[in-house]
């Protein structure tokens, strides 16, 4: 056993998970994904809106992460995200509504829409739906 990584995910409003023992962590960093294994060097990374993958009990658990930071040090990974949700916490209906709203705004070709904002909202909704989808797949098994 090469040791474990203790993962903590915190948002401004709550602690999503605390000291979850994982074998590996995949971070959604700004220019792709980054795998973290035990004994990783100390690091602070900027995260994008994406899926954080935590390997424990022989499988990867996806967590929706809305941008933020990750700090790695001494086999601890601390994620500070604007918002983060585990699959079972995601409000699928709300995410779906948000996706449609964002898509409609992007389609509407008006000058006065904030494209960057709509795209960010769309991205968040897609990440949430994807993470929630994993849950549905696992349930079928």
């Amino acid at each position: 056993m090469a040791g474990e990584i203790q993962v903590t995910v915190i948002t401004p409003e709550r602690t999503v998970l605390k000291d979850l023992a994982c074998d590996a962590v995949i971070l959604p960093v700004v220019d792709g994904s980054m795998g973290i294994l035990p004994l990783h060097a100390p690091m602070v990374a900027v995260l994008r809106t994406g899926i954080l993958k935590l390997k424990h009990d022989g499988r990867y658990e996806p967590v929706a992460v809305m941008g933020g930071f990750a700090e790695v040090s001494e086999d601890r990974v601390t994620i500070l995200a604007e918002a983060a949700e585990r699959a079972e916490e995601i409000d699928v209906l709300r995410a779906r509504a948000a996706k449609e709203r964002a898509e409609a705004r992007l389609r509407s070709r008006q000058e006065n829409i904030d494209r960057a904002r709509a795209e960010a909202a769309l991205q968040r909704a897609l990440v949430r739906l994807k993470v929630a989808g994993y849950l549905a797949e696992n349930r079928r098994n």
């Binding site: 915190i10 401004p12 409003e13 602690t15 690091m43 602070v44 990374a45 900027v46 930071f69 601390t78």
Partner: protein, 287 residues
């Protein structure tokens, strides 16, 4: 005498009705206070970790020049005071205290002042006195929410970065415990860098993609967090103050009801005594 008795009864009924309201308000405030307290505690780990990260970066020498961190040297600097009050009254001295602290701060300030208000009470107070807030937010709800706080603080940062104001200070009520709250003033911008005092903090970190990029995003998040914390504390204080005030009002009502009941019984007894003595007197006269 009968008139007097009726009046006392009517009065007692009125006090009882008021007590029902104050008791309900106290219980509602207590429930909201619990939630608000949980939220204050829930937000602390994030603020703490972020402060640690930022402190380490600043200690490593990054960010001296970050626009949100660097104090500004200008002629005639403008200072924005953000006053956080409640939307509703019946919270004891909560609004009075924070507004008084704001007046005091504004009077002491020698630089040019800009006022920003959060909550109806502070806005109404200053508008009534002819001070028009530069920005105002009202009816933000019974709970401090992150997206709302983010929007407000975003605008504050905008004001600061555009040079419309050169310093931003927050006046809010610090939550000490459910019965004690204290008006407090902090400087939000330029951000006083958090001190990194921890031993072993000199470990070399890899910054991904770069220290500058991390700092670039970290500083605004930290400003948001500091501001969010003040909003959370202000909310918890408001509910605490309201709970205490309504608790006192309920106790006072209980006392008043007891006093009125006593008065009523005395009046009743006096009436009976008088009636008996009249009857006795009448019987005597017939003999």
């Amino acid at each position: 005498m009968a008139e007097n008795k009726k009046a006392i009864l009517r009065r007692r009924k009125a006090v009882q009705a008021t007590q029902k309201i104050t008791r309900a308000m106290k219980m509602v405030a207590a429930a909201k206070l619990r939630r608000a307290q949980d939220r204050v505690l829930g937000a602390r780990p994030y603020a703490r970790e972020l402060a640690r990260m930022l402190g380490r970066l600043v200690a490593a020498g990054a960010g001296k020049e970050h626009p949100l961190l660097r104090p500004r040297e200008v002629d005639d600097p403008k200072v924005a005071y953000v006053v956080i009050s409640a939307d509703r009254g019946l919270a004891g001295s909560y609004n009075v205290n924070i507004i008084r602290a704001a007046q005091e701060a504004l009077r002491r300030e020698t630089r040019t002042v800009r006022l920003i208000t959060i909550g109806r009470k502070a806005r109404d107070f200053f508008v009534k006195r002819g001070v028009k807030p530069l920005r105002e937010w009202v009816y933000l709800g019974e709970e401090a929410r992150w997206p709302v706080a983010k929007e407000i603080v975003g605008e504050l940062m905008q004001l600061y970065l555009s040079g419309e104001v050169d310093e931003v200070r927050i006046l809010y009520t610090e939550f000490i415990n459910p019965v004690t709250q204290r008006p407090t003033e902090i400087q939000l911008l330029p951000l006083p860098a958090p001190a990194e005092a921890e031993a072993g903090s000199l470990v070399d970190y890899i910054y991904e993609p770069s220290p500058e990029a991390v700092l670039e995003r970290l500083v605004p998040r930290y400003v948001e967090t500091v501001f969010f914390q003040t909003m959370l504390e202000a909310k918890a204080s408001e509910h605490g103050a309201r709970m205490t005030a309504m608790g006192n009002a309920t106790d006072n009502a209980t006392e008043l009801i007891a006093k009125l009941t006593l008065q009523y019984n005395r009046a009743r007894q006096a009436a009976i005594t008088k009636e008996i003595s009249e009857i006795v007197g009448g019987a005597e006269a017939l003999k």
